[in-house]
Amino acid sequence: MIAAHDFYENEYAQFWIADGILIFEYKPNTILGLEVAQNVVADRIHFQNEKPFPVLCDVRGIVNTDKSGRDYLAQSGSVLTKAVALLVNQKVSLTISNFYLRISKPSVPTQLFTDQEEALAYLKQFV
């Protein structure tokens, strides 16, 4: 674990703040189960402490998910987030994210983007 004031990294993800937006990046080949979800949510909340942020979540590193992981993210994963933009590119991550949006139903506004600039533009309104 590298702890810094503006950058944080654990086994599954790294994240930092830029222009009032929390950029959250999953590492390549991540399998998102309950443990991983709990781990990244705990670290993110701890990192933010009191401040809610709009979150750009780069899920391109996720290769597979399970229900408990998706459900945990959709509920507890929304703590201290104002809105989430999921950044996807491959076919598989797009399908997983689409499913997550429509079935797991995250409890904060969440949208899918394939373009980082568009994702950031969407999040700007929540800064």
């Binding site: 701890h46 507890s76 499913f99």
Partner: protein
């Protein structure tokens, strides 16, 4: 789509769909390394099966067209190095391997690579006497190359070297014939039409509550206006599907959320109580204590060094 490896992938996909049509939601299609259209179908079907299993078939296998229920307890006896020493005969039906193919073989041969890793931890814990019983989710490989997922209980025996691994699974439909004497279960009788329509409404209410945990719960009257229905339908419907009241569910979820926030942040407890829809701290503290058995201020805060600086 013509490549031979695609053909194989389509075959497993079909097998999976047949299993689901038969009411078996335990199987999973193995993933490939490809990021193509076929793979999107594979992950989608796997996720759908998982949702169906957890949401509808959580208590086991219900065959919708006979309404007979068959849940099967499967047990394996392993030696200390996890060689299979014995099992109850049903496992051959579940996995499709014969007795001779399984007996005296390492358990690792019958589970997925990820499961092997998980099992290694369990093995270590058992050997070092750190635990006597663990629950571990494993993916078993069936003979026709699908995975069967199951939460397995792995435990040591008292005064014996063997280890018992057991899980609950669904019996494939072919093996019904010898079980037809079982009484019809009234719980799985067809529900009245109105219930099906209610399900959609109650799902909406459920999602609404989860999305508004930071606010006080509106009155039943306000909720019924919001969802364009009457109070009785909401109240009774919610209890029917979730076996708890609307308020109890809301309260349980916001307390869990507050618990997480207390553990993971330095946010003052008073603020946390407001952020989870409580009107004042004493109310929050009382409710919290009733649910968890200890007060909010008894929790160790996660206050190690890194915090944000503006």
């Amino acid at each position: 789509m013509e490549k031979p490896h695609n053909q194989e992938r389509i075959v497993t996909l079909h097998q999976m769909l047949f299993e689901m049509a038969r009411g078996n939601f335990n199987s999973r299609i193995p993933l490939s390394q490809y990021d193509d259209e076929l793979e999107t179908l594979v992950v989608l079907i796997n996720m759908v099966a998982e949702e169906m299993k957890e949401s509808i078939f959580h208590s086991g296998y219900v065959n919708p067209h006979t309404t007979y229920r068959f849940i099967n307890q499967t047990t394996l006896i392993l030696d200390s190095s996890f060689l299979i020493k014995s099992f109850n005969p049903d496992i051959t039906t579940v996995l499709g391997f014969t007795y001779t193919e399984m007996l005296h073989q390492p358990l690792e041969l019958f589970i997925s690579p990820e499961s092997i890793e998980k099992l290694a931890f369990v093995k270590e814990a058992l050997l070092e006497n750190r635990s006597f019983q663990t629950i571990v989710p494993l993916h078993f490989r069936t003979k026709d190359a699908l995975y069967v997922s199951a939460d397995c209980s792995v435990c040591k025996l008292f005064n014996r070297p063997e280890i018992i691994l057991s899980f609950v699974s669904a019996l494939p439909q072919d093996s019904y014939t010898n079980l037809l004497g079982i009484e019809k279960d009234n719980d799985t009788e067809k529900q009245p039409e109105s219930r099906k329509a209610d399900a959609l409404l109650i799902q909406k209410l459920y999602d609404y509550i989860l999305a508004h945990l930071e606010e006080p719960l509106p009155s039943l009257k306000a909720l019924s206006r919001l969802f364009g229905t009457n109070e009785y339908k909401l109240k009774d419907g919610f209890r029917h599907f979730f076996k708890t009241s609307i308020y109890q569910f809301y309260n349980e979820e916001r307390l869990k959320r507050a618990h997480l926030m207390i553990q993971q942040t330095d946010i003052p407890l008073k603020n946390i109580s407001v952020m989870n829809g409580f009107s004042n701290y004493p109310n929050f503290s009382k409710s919290f204590k009733r649910r968890f058995g200890y007060a909010p201020n008894a929790i160790q805060r996660n206050n190690s060094s890194f915090t944000l600086e503006d």
